[in-house]
Symmetry: C3
Subunit: 158 residues, 3 copies
């Protein structure tokens, strides 16, 4: 087994599951007692596979693209490894709002019964560009419009 190649494919499955919204496959790349630290990316710190699977599946992103680049993977024992990955992500919400980000993952991995899992994952960003190219006003649709104001054409203001 080429452990480094297996770890690259593990992370590839993570990205593919995330962008295809396959939350079962998404959870399965993590160890049961994983720790995911999104605090440096403005998010929570989450413990456990099921909790992080639930967090991921709750995202209301309509479309997302996540690509990982230039991995630096080091085997630290036959059953453990560390990794650094570059990230580019592009997330489009239902209201047209977009985030385009560039950052790094800092990770550890564990091998259990011959299969690799993500044990710890921390994410930070170098930069996030935010856009709202179609200023959204979807009044009445999941109350989204209320976040952005009221459509003057939809009625009077009183």
């Amino acid at each position: 087994m080429d452990d480094v190649e297996e770890l690259k494919k593990l992370k590839a499955r993570y990205f593919r599951a995330l962008d295809s919204k396959d939350w079962k496959a998404y959870g399965n790349v993590f160890a049961e007692d994983c720790v995911v630290d999104l605090t440096r990316a403005g998010g929570p710190r989450i413990e456990g596979r099921e909790a992080f699977r639930a967090y991921g599946s709750s995202l209301t992103i309509v479309q997302s693209v996540h690509h990982g680049h230039n991995p630096e993977i080091e085997l630290t024992s036959p059953d453990t490894a560390t990794g650094v990955w570059c990230l580019e992500d592009y997330n489009i919400w239902e209201d047209g709002h977009q985030n385009h980000g560039w950052g790094h993952y800092l990770e550890t991995y564990v091998k259990l019964d011959g299969l690799w899992y993500i044990q710890n994952m921390a994410l930070s960003y170098l930069r996030i560009d935010t856009e709202c190219p179609q200023p959204a006003l979807i009044a009445g649709k999941d109350r989204t419009g209320h976040l952005h104001g009221q459509n003057p054409a939809a009625g009077n203001w009183n």
Copy 2:
């Protein structure tokens, strides 16, 4: 021979040939009896290396960038393999029109006389952003302007 690394370099040559418009090298990464299915990307289904080489070389794209990410390659026999690749592409046409896309390739490979080739390639997109940042009106230039209207300054309308 590290077959997985050879398959990554095969796909790297595909991308480099496509973006450098080296259509001879482009064709040579495919098996003679390859099948390329672009139907999920709004394109045709093409059979055979020469037919697909001709299709590629007919593209009127002025500039293109195609990068492949996070391959998941599995050897299915000593001479066959499957692969999934993420794609980001950015294509700029002569009239200024642009496509920026993110998707996946689903592929099979075959090894013939010690060299790997793409046997089947199917492409689908998660998202394509389209822009025309310089609304183009190049009247008289390869009839491109006629696709977009007529330049008022170029003559009368009758």
Copy 3:
């Protein structure tokens, strides 16, 4: 030692050092007598690790992202290798001016005392998109504003 994987990690360290502005680590990926040819990218040709480290560290880019893709690495002897990498970079200057580029690195590597270094690095671009999304007027700040005009609100013109 998997030399191809080591060479990919060498280039990964180059990218990570560049974007984290760790100029010591940046210099250390190059051989002492390296040659870096940026002439096809509108830059200089620089000889020697220390000269190129100084060049890099003088960049006034506030934020940068550099990702390498689809490497084609060939071992040419036990101690030498060649490589082609695709590049996507995104550079943001202090005045808001941005470059977003796509190109290729052409490189040679040398192994000294068991460690790989970049011996020759040449860079060319397929395309560079330039933007100034926040037309910058930072009068008085490092004289940057003077490059773009004078803020009418800042005082009189005499």
